[in-house]
């Protein structure tokens, strides 16, 4: 550890020395700015040249530097080479496609965007800190470029989606056009439910009866891995408590219908009722007593026949069930209970749940946008990048579904990269081996759809940073065991938890969130 530290420190000092040297050598003042000035100059020129003949100018050959999240597939270099051949012909451009890998991609995003590296396009997403970077001014305003360089996209992305990515009057990304619902829910062993004659799962009581039957008759711990997600999301959804302002931990809006009614949920009657119930669940052995320290997913245990319930969002559940149907045939039937059924409404994801953005330092934003336009709208480009090489990585069956890998090919040929940023429902093909229930679920969600009013509330917790940190500490230390029923005396633990939260400054955090929520609700005209 010490050695690492020393190493890091010494490297940094070397850097400092070198950069001093460099800027000294550079002579005329600031080290980075002249170059930057040049690049904006040239792009401005390009733009004006393009305006003249009314058509985008593609006479100069460019290499675009793109970044995607995650890992490349083994066949990606082949795919990109193929793709570049087409691009070079059509747009006189090639793309160097980079991947962040799944290791610490957050750090890499920070570095890429903070260092001003010349990146022409990258995957952007609300869950990958799009709003944070947007606020910091890391992305280029596309408002003027879009109608000219990506007219089709400009026309076809719904108004609401453009609104999602408009911050301070600037359009900072191109959202994917793929309506998605990712509500929480429980995956469970339907075959066991039938075998045990447990009631169909429709509400909390039936869930309890099911868990009890599994525990007593099957002698299986129903949620054997870390059960936190299962219990926590169930709690929020059962009472319709809506997480608000991202990382606030214990602060929720009491219901979808009353967004201004913000509370710290540990002080509610509902929470009291809930933890008492969870105590009985824990005592009945629905999960193990070390559940908070286990790192294994409950789903792993379902696969080995030693678990019965697993928390997943709807697409995740679909993938999980498809995998079980394929690789664990001894499990006859899986079921899924989406928590949307508690209150009968579903909230679609924001348009910018996935999308593509152009960083401020891009050298060729126009061309990059033209490539994106092609990629989204031309099925030839779309299929190649999204599904790989036809016949090699995938084939389409008679229903237009993707079979990947093609029959008779090595399973490793099945293609997959994080292509979500340019997804467009018009060109998207469903997978042939998806779980049958998924389409039905999507229908159900669509019918009960209501717009997302909570996700766009973005909070900067700077004024209450220390209180929030203290609250989160208390939450981890006292709130989580209480929620999981892992305390000897619920009343006492609850009282203790509440007083600790008060001492940590939960009121200040609550007041701050309330203020921000009011401001947001006024702006959007919510009740």
């Amino acid at each position: 550890m010490k050695k690492r530290l020393f190493k890091l420190l010494s490297v940094c000092m070397a850097v400092a020395m070198l950069s001093v040297l460099m800027s000294a050598c550079g002579g005329s003042g600031g080290s980075g700015s002249p170059e930057e000035g040049k690049s904006t100059d040239s792009s401005a020129k390009e733009e004006s040249a393009a305006v003249d003949d009314g058509k985008p100018d593609t006479s100069k050959k460019v290499v675009l530097n793109w970044y995607l999240l995650g890992d490349a597939h083994a066949d990606t270099p082949k795919v990109v080479a193929e793709w570049n051949k087409m691009l070079e012909k059509d747009l006189n451009a090639t793309v160097k496609l980079n991947f962040t890998t799944w290791n610490d991609w957050q750090t890499k995003y920070n570095l890429l965007l903070a260092s001003g590296e010349k990146v022409d396009m990258l995957f952007a997403s609300s869950w990958a800190d799009f709003f944070k970077f947007a606020k910091q001014g890391a992305f280029l305003d596309l408002k003027d470029l879009l109608p000219k360089y990506a007219p089709e996209t400009w026309k076809e992305v719904p108004e609401q989606d453009w609104k999602d990515v408009t911050i301070g009057g600037k359009i900072l990304a191109v959202p994917s056009t793929y309506p998605e619902y990712t509500p929480d829910g429980l995956v469970y062993r339907e075959d066991w439910r039938e075998e045990l004659n447990a009631p169909e799962i429709t509400d909390l009581d039936s869930i309890e009866k099911y868990l009890e039957a599994v525990k007593t008759v099957k002698k299986v711990t129903p949620i054997k891995g870390k059960a936190w997600n299962e219990v926590n999301t169930l709690f929020h959804n059962y009472y319709d408590f809506k997480n608000i302002g991202g990382d606030s931990g214990v602060i929720v809006a009491k219901s979808y219908d009353t967004p201004r009614d913000v509370v710290a949920y540990p002080f509610t009657m509902e929470f009291e009722e809930w933890v008492k119930r969870m105590k009985t669940w824990a005592d009945k052995g629905f999960w193990t007593s070390n559940t908070l320290s286990i790192q294994q997913e409950s789903g792993d245990f379902i696969k080995t026949g030693t678990g019965a319930v697993y928390w997943r969002n709807a697409p995740g559940a679909s993938g999980f069930i498809a995998d079980i149907e394929k690789n664990h045939r001894e499990i006859k039937k899986m079921g899924y209970f989406p928590f949307t059924r508690f209150h009968n409404y579903a909230v679609p994801n924001l348009g910018i749940n996935n999308g593509m953005a152009i960083p401020k330092n891009s050298e060729n934003p126009e061309r990059s946008l033209m490539v994106l336009e092609k990629l989204r709208n031309d099925p030839k480009y779309y299929n190649l990048m999204t599904y790989g090489i036809e016949g090699e990585n995938y084939v389409l069956n008679d229903k237009g579904a993707i079979v990947s890998p093609p029959p008779g090919k090595d399973p490793k040929k099945g293609y997959g990269i994080a292509s979500w940023g340019w997804r467009y429902s018009k060109n998207e093909h469903p997978s042939s081996n998806r779980w049958e229930g998924e389409d039905k679920l999507m229908e159900e969600f669509k019918a009960a759809s209501r717009p997302d009013i909570f996700a766009p509330i973005l909070m900067d917790y700077q004024p209450v940073k220390s209180q929030l940190a203290a609250v989160n500490q208390v939450y981890q230390q006292f709130g989580m065991p209480l929620m999981m029923g892992l305390v000897p005396d619920v009343d006492q633990a609850l009282e203790n938890y509440r007083s600790k939260l008060k001492a940590a400054g939960v009121d200040a955090v609550l007041a701050y969130v309330q203020k921000e929520v009011n401001a947001y609700a006024d702006e959007k005209g919510l009740k």
Binding site: F6, L9, C12, M22, S31, W102, N103, F301, T304
Partner: protein
């Protein structure tokens, strides 16, 4: 009696290693169901299959790592010992200032982002082996260590060589270096290990898969196996699901295997070299 106690203790120390080995050969399902065992219930090489699913990749990564470790250690030793030697000479005028300048770097740093900006924007070393090699060549700690070691070599040796007409570099190369073997071995081991174990620079700077060093490649395999289980991957078409638990063990073995054999060769220099480093300044 003493021998028996020591042997038992030694065996106990080996136990965790044995658990890793047996874990890497167990079936994933067994580990989830029953936990780790000394003898696998079902012998399985799935984890190794996952690690070596693309053998060319591992071989390439080995080449990168071995190449980096060798060049890095040799160059690093050369530069570190030169710096250490200069600082150990009492007749070097700016000795104290320079020593302070180096020592100072151990107290304050510029942070990750300036480092990144320097390497990517100014030196243009993104996706280049240089980014893996150069930053770790010299470290203040190693230089101080080296200086202190060389201080213990009597000045009269330098003087006698001068009288015989040797130049500065000859003195350093022919006299000081051979006398500093324990120090060199120690620092060589430090350098070798740090190059061998370094995954962070590759994580930050390398984007081409064929340039990944071993540690990072394996770290990446583990991370991908973990990601494939999360919700993010709900839509990833990858059909290949790696056995995450046993994979960790297999990766640990693949990574540590070769470097463990380095220890016996340099260990005898180790104690002496380290005690010298205990005195700073």
């Amino acid at each position: 009696m003493g021998y028996i106690v020591i042997s038992v203790l030694a065996l106990l120390c080996l136990l965790p290693f044995w658990l890793i080995i047996s874990g890497s050969f167990s079936a994933e399902d067994d580990i989830i169901r029953d936990g780790f065992r000394l003898v696998p219930n079902h012998f399985s090489i799935d984890a190794y299959k996952a690690v070596f699913s693309n053998p060319m990749q591992i071989i390439q990564a080995y080449e990168v790592t071995v190449g980096l470790t060798l060049t890095g250690t040799i160059l690093g030793l050369f530069f570190t010992s030169m710096a250490g030697y200069v600082l150990s000479r009492k007749d070097f005028k700016y000795r104290d200032k320079l020593a302070f300048f180096i020592y100072f770097t151990t107290l304050f740093s510029g942070g990750l982002i300036p480092w990144y900006i320097l390497i990517v924007n100014y030196l243009d070393w993104k996706d280049s082996y240089l980014a893996l090699l150069v930053p770790a060549l010299m470290s203040a700690w190693n230089i101080i260590l080296m200086k202190n070691f060389m201080k213990s070599i009597p000045d009269s040796i330098v003087e006698s060589a001068k009288i015989d007409g040797a130049g500065e570099f000859t003195i350093y190369w022919k006299l000081i270096l051979p006398l500093s073997t324990p120090g060199l071995a120690t620092i060589g081991l430090f350098l070798g290990l740090s190059y061998w174990n370094d995954w962070f620079s590759a994580n930050v700077f390398i984007t081409t898969e064929s340039k990944y060093p071993l540690q990072f490649l394996l770290y990446k395999i583990l991370a991908s196996a973990a990601v494939l289980k999360t919700d993010i991957a709900g839509n990833l078409g990858a059909d290949f699901k790696a056995p995450a638990e046993t994979l960790k063990m297999a990766v640990a073995i693949v990574v540590t295997g070769p470097i463990i054999f380095l220890y016996p060769f340099v260990q005898r220099y180790f104690v002496k070299g380290l005690t010298i480093g205990a005195v700073k300044g």
